[in-house]
């Protein structure tokens, strides 16, 4: 369960940072991207998929959260 930090970059893209791995990748897609439900699978630009327990609302960024790796 790595800790991740989500923020927006200058272009407005969602960026996922995994401190343990020094990985900073753009999130291509968020599984649930609605006002009342946000999270689920995060599809990173490098091909990895992380799972973040869906939040009850769209979060205020930056957000530090725990996610786990989804092996496909």
């Amino acid at each position: 369960m790595p800790e991740i930090m989500l923020r927006r970059n200058e272009k407005g893209e969602l960026l996922c940072y995994v401190p343990k791995k020094d990985l900073e990748a753009v999130v291509r897609e968020v599984e649930f991207d609605q006002e009342e439900r946000w999270g689920g699978r995060l599809y990173l630009a490098n091909g990895e998929i992380l799972h973040l327990n869906p939040l009850p609302a769209r979060p205020r960024l930056p957000l530090t959260a725990r996610a786990h790796k989804v092996t496909t």
Partner: protein, 477 residues
């Protein structure tokens, strides 16, 4: 010009000298990038322990904390806690310029050490530290705080510097910051940056919710500029010229008060991503201050950075940025006109620290030069990702190159200029290759900003076109 096959062969040739295990490990740290894709980390493994038995160029956690992050904070006393050597041999070597009276209200170039002896290692050094703190505070009453930079033995014998710091801090009414940056921690100075950032977070930012000054709408802080040869000053004037108010400089020519006030700024401007991204991320999460990276090497990158910074503010600042760029354009044109013909087409190999392997590429390109090899001593994956965006031709990439690898690469690629540290300088000069010491600008500088570009161009010309290179015969001829 380097082509991919040749470079790949060169890497294989270099690796052939190692035993199979070491070669397999080192292979992950060496690569060739043909053209920038802007994505991925150049396919390189970084921030790993160096191979035992090879000569690495890396520093230690103490170097990252005392030498880089904490050291330049000028109105604090930074005690090198442990044997005398670590502090003395790194004293003032980085040329972090500052304004102030050394020994009165600024302490940047001084060396404070607890000078551990055998008895301190056997019986513990806490008593000595307590005495030292009192002494330093009495002798230099204008200090604003003290940081305790641990050297290896402190961690090995398990001294409780936190307890001493807490007690003395309360007695003095000043921040006394214990920094657990013993040299053996981590794989390079990079962890020292992180540890130092964490102590700033824990002991400085949260010490008092500062209300001393009123936050203005254009307040910004410069992070990760260590004012080497005056770099931060050359950057600061550009930001001020465009209408921003620079509240704090971290940490070149910086003060404790500036650091305490940073949580009130509108935007954190981050020059050295590697050493200060941790605190930037923290301030974004805790105080909601956005941060952005910028690059003040070479006119192309400066103009681009100024515009990107201005885009975060209103039209007044945006007009200011355009005015700054326009005002300096004649000067830039004159420099480029003068030096470009002398430097056009020259090839450069770099091997430096946290931001320069990618940041100076633009400045070289402005002068018509080409970077054919670059690498970080202690970069992480995210640094290599950022590097990828800056590369514009086939480039050899080496992470944590050993003395042997670097020498071999340079011998075969034969660039017109090598930019690396002082340990490499004389090796390459003796090989007959012009060299610039790019950690502290070879006793020159500043290189940031428009003023810095003039000096940068002059220095590169001075080095490459120096007549001495034609006069010497290298030993193999």
């Amino acid at each position: 010009m380097l082509n991919k096959e040749e470079a790949q062969r060169l890497i294989e040739e270099v690796l052939a000298a190692y035993p199979p295990d070491a070669a397999a490990d080192r292979a992950k740290h060496l690569t060739v990038v043909e053209e920038a894709t802007g994505e991925g980390s150049c396919g390189i493994t970084a921030n790993r322990k160096s191979q035992p038995g090879v000569m690495t160029i890396r520093g230690c956690a103490y170097a990252g904390s005392k030498g880089v992050v904490w050291g330049p904070v000028k109105d604090m006393i930074h005690i090198s806690h442990g044997p005398v050597g670590c502090g003395q041999y790194s004293r003032a070597g980085r040329r972090n310029y500052y304004v102030g009276h050394t020994g009165v209200n600024a302490f940047g170039t001084m060396n404070f050490t607890s000078d551990f002896q055998e008895k301190d290692v056997v019986f513990g050094g806490d008593k000595k530290l307590a005495k030292l703190l009192d002494e330093a505070n009495a002798l230099f009453p204008l200090n604003k705080g003290i940081s305790i930079q641990s050297e290896c033995p402190v961690g090995l014998i398990g001294d409780d510097i936190e307890a001493v710091a807490k007690q003395k801090g309360a007695e003095m009414g000043k921040p006394v910051v214990p920094v657990r940056c013993e040299g053996f921690r981590g794989v390079s100075q990079s962890l020292g940056h992180h540890i130092a950032n964490d102590t700033i977070r824990d002991f400085i930012l949260d010490r008092q919710e500062s209300t001393a000054n009123e936050a203005g709408p254009y307040d910004v802080a410069i992070l990760g500029d260590y004012n080497i040869g005056g770099d931060a000053w050359a950057s600061r004037i550009l930001l001020e010229e465009m209408g921003l108010r620079v509240v704090a400089q971290w940490s070149g020519d910086g003060t404790l008060a500036e650091m305490e006030r940073t949580p009130q700024v509108r935007l954190n401007l981050l020059h050295c991503y590697r050493s200060m991204n941790y605190i930037s991320r923290h301030m974004e999460a805790k105080y909601g201050i956005p941060w952005m990276e910028y690059n003040f090497f070479g006119p192309t990158r400066i103009a681009d950075s100024l515009r990107r910074i201005a885009a975060r503010f209103d039209s007044r600042i945006q007009e200011g940025a355009e005015a700054v760029i326009a005002r300096h354009q004649p000067m830039v044109d004159a420099i480029t006109h003068h030096f470009r013909p002398r430097l056009e087409g020259k090839r450069v190999m770099l091997y430096v620290g946290g931001l320069r392997p990618r940041h100076v590429i633009g400045a070289y390109e402005d002068l018509g030069m080409q970077v054919v090899g670059t690498g970080y001593e202690f970069g992480h994956n995210d640094d290599y990702e950022r590097t990828n965006e800056d590369l514009s031709n086939t480039t050899l990439i080496y992470d944590d190159a050993s003395g042997y690898e670097l020498e071999k690469f340079v011998e075969r690629v034969r660039p017109d200029l090598v930019g690396s540290g002082i340990k490499e300088k004389y090796v390459f000069q003796k090989m007959g290759i012009p060299f610039r010491q790019m950690h502290s600008w070879d006793y020159s500088g500043p290189y940031h900003g428009y003023d810095g570009y003039a000096i940068f161009a002059r220095d590169m010309d001075m080095t490459i076109n120096n007549p001495c290179w034609k006069m010497m015969t290298p030993p193999w001829r």
